[in-house]
Amino acid sequence: MNFIGERINTGFKDIKQAVMDKDPGPLQDWAKKQAAAGATYLDVNLGAVSADPADMCWMIETVQGAVETAICIDTNKPKILAEAIKACRPGMLINSTTAADEKLDAMMPIAAEHNASIIGLSMDEAGTPKDVDKRVENAGKILAKAMELGMEPQRVFLDPIVMPLKYMQDQSQRILEAARQFQLFSDPPPNVVLGLSNVSNGTTHKKLINRIFLVMGIANGVSAAICDVMDMDLVNAALTAELVMNREIFADSYVRT
């Protein structure tokens, strides 16, 4: 299971302030906490705080100064990505491209060139699909582009695009079905990633909904999640689900504390 730590994002006030003040403390603190909790990647998101690639590079270098964990470069701007990726140690993940031609043609070659992995959102120029088939079509287009550029399928993390349960209740099972169908593209299959917290948007029982949705996702082939890696109930539920799916070898002390 790939756990992508979501916390180094200027959407959080402490990170936003730290980036504006160039104060490494909060970033490094969250980097260490999430790494200790077992994060596979640390998402780094500059958000709308700045459009200057140098600020994103500062964030990445600050995080890398504290931990060895691989970076997940969270930007949809090719210009920022082109600079940020040079600041990363090997093994980075790009978050993200879509199936829109303009985006795909800009982002995917950068991933291929730097031997990076990349998240592919199964949306296109028309936005996020409401049905399974269009999600699968978009995801297939992204994977095909990657393979055309010589990337192995496991380096592509396809995202069926999670919708809020509360507001779009009919979407969840379609998302799970799309995730299941993504497995059929290749052998070995691509990774499948969920931007998990979106499912519980606006709800009272956020953690419970996140946890159940991730477990059901894993049963349908999900192998990665951008999530609160400090939520040990979530992490351990996911690890248990992976055992149930026989993707990991069992050991009594498999839970994390």
């Binding site: 192995e152 070898i249 050991a251 002390s253």
Partner: protein
């Protein structure tokens, strides 16, 4: 007709572990042994890297094990009565990569020798040979918990590989490994789940998995060999697929287990039709060793000089194949 190589793309690399420390690293070894580092299954050099060839550890015991057949004792010679001379013979004549010393004299069911005597043996063997040393307790955990710390201290800084940490004594092994800068063998009783569990326990106790070699109680041929073979293979596949808890080098303790079973002990007067023991004994050891080598063993312990020679040739040929 050309046969196209089918290549699997693995995502992870097996850890490397270096056994033995030279003077500039705080030890006195004249050579070191590095195992692991594979990015593919055994000998598939067309598919990935095998940066370190599998190695052979010459088996030595502090006292001659009860029940070893004459054909084995005679093949080793009088040196079998002295661990120091036996180890020297292993290095000089059998050309082993390292020594695997099994400390059976302290066994409460045997000679009940003191931990201090065991430590003296370890020290003497280290002084007598320049290759790295693996040493194992007798297998009785209470005894080993006294013997191994004393031996560890006597070998401080030599970066030995110590066997073995189990589900119940991992704390002791982790602690002495850290204190005296040694590597540790994590052992499980023919059980892949316990194998993983011991690794988790060692890691949780603060011992780095970069300093661990995995071991399953190694079945002799005909005594569960197929179970252990499968475990070696599954461990390696899980490690290559990305399970960091399984991405460790593995040791097969072939010599110790082979020379206990009737096929390697009894001649054709008792087993008519089975052929002469002088040939069959080393063949029994070699056949199991060859299997484990193909299943993912990085270190083989072997006792019979003929087995050592045969396996060295086998490794040479397998590594040269591509």
């Amino acid at each position: 007709m050309d046969v196209v190589d089918i290549k699997e793309k693995w995502t992870n690399q097996i850890n490397t572990v270096t056994i033995g420390a030279k003077p500039d690293e705080g030890g006195t070894r004249t050579s070191t042994v590095t195992v692991g580092g594979e990015t593919t299954l055994p000998f598939l050099t067309f598919e990935g890297d095998i940066p370190n060839r599998p190695v052979i550890a010459g088996m030595v015991t502090d006292v001659v094990p009860d029940g070893w057949p004459d054909i084995l004792k005679q093949a080793i010679g009088d040196e079998i009565n002295s661990p120091v001379e036996w180890a020297q013979k292993c290095v000089e004549q059998y050309k082993v990569d390292l020594i695997s010393l099994k400390l059976i004299a302290p066994d409460p069911g045997g000679q009940k020798r003191s931990p201090a005597e065991a430590a003296k043996t370890v020290k003497a063997v280290l002084e007598a040979v320049g290759v790295p040393l693996i040493f194992w307790g007798c297998g009785d955990e209470d005894t080993d918990n006294e013997v191994l710390p004393e031996c560890s201290q006597a070998a401080r800084g030599e970066r030995c590989l110590i066997g073995s940490a189990t589900e119940s004594n991992y704390r002791t092994l982790g602690a002495i490994g850290t204190a005296d800068k040694h590597k540790v063998i994590a052992e499980a009783p023919v059980d892949i789940n316990i194998g993983k569990q011991v690794n988790i326990l060692l890691q949780d106790a603060g011992f780095s998995l970069n300093d661990v070699v995995m071991c399953q109680v190694t079945a002799a041929l005909g005594y569960g060999f197929d179970y252990v073979y499968t475990i070696f293979e599954r461990v390696r596949i899980a490690g290559l697929k990305g399970d960091k808890l399984m991405a460790l080098p593995q040791i097969a303790n072939v010599g110790w287990e082979t020379w206990k079973v009737k096929e390697a002990l009894q001649d054709d007067d008792i087993l008519p039709g089975w052929g002469k023991l002088a040939d069959r004994g080393p063949l029994w050891e070699t056949t199991a060793a060859t299997g484990y080598l193909h299943a993912g063993a990085d270190i083989l312990t072997l006792a019979h000089p003929q087995s050592i020679a045969t396996m060295r040739q086998a490794i040479d040929e397998l590594m040269a194949a591509h």
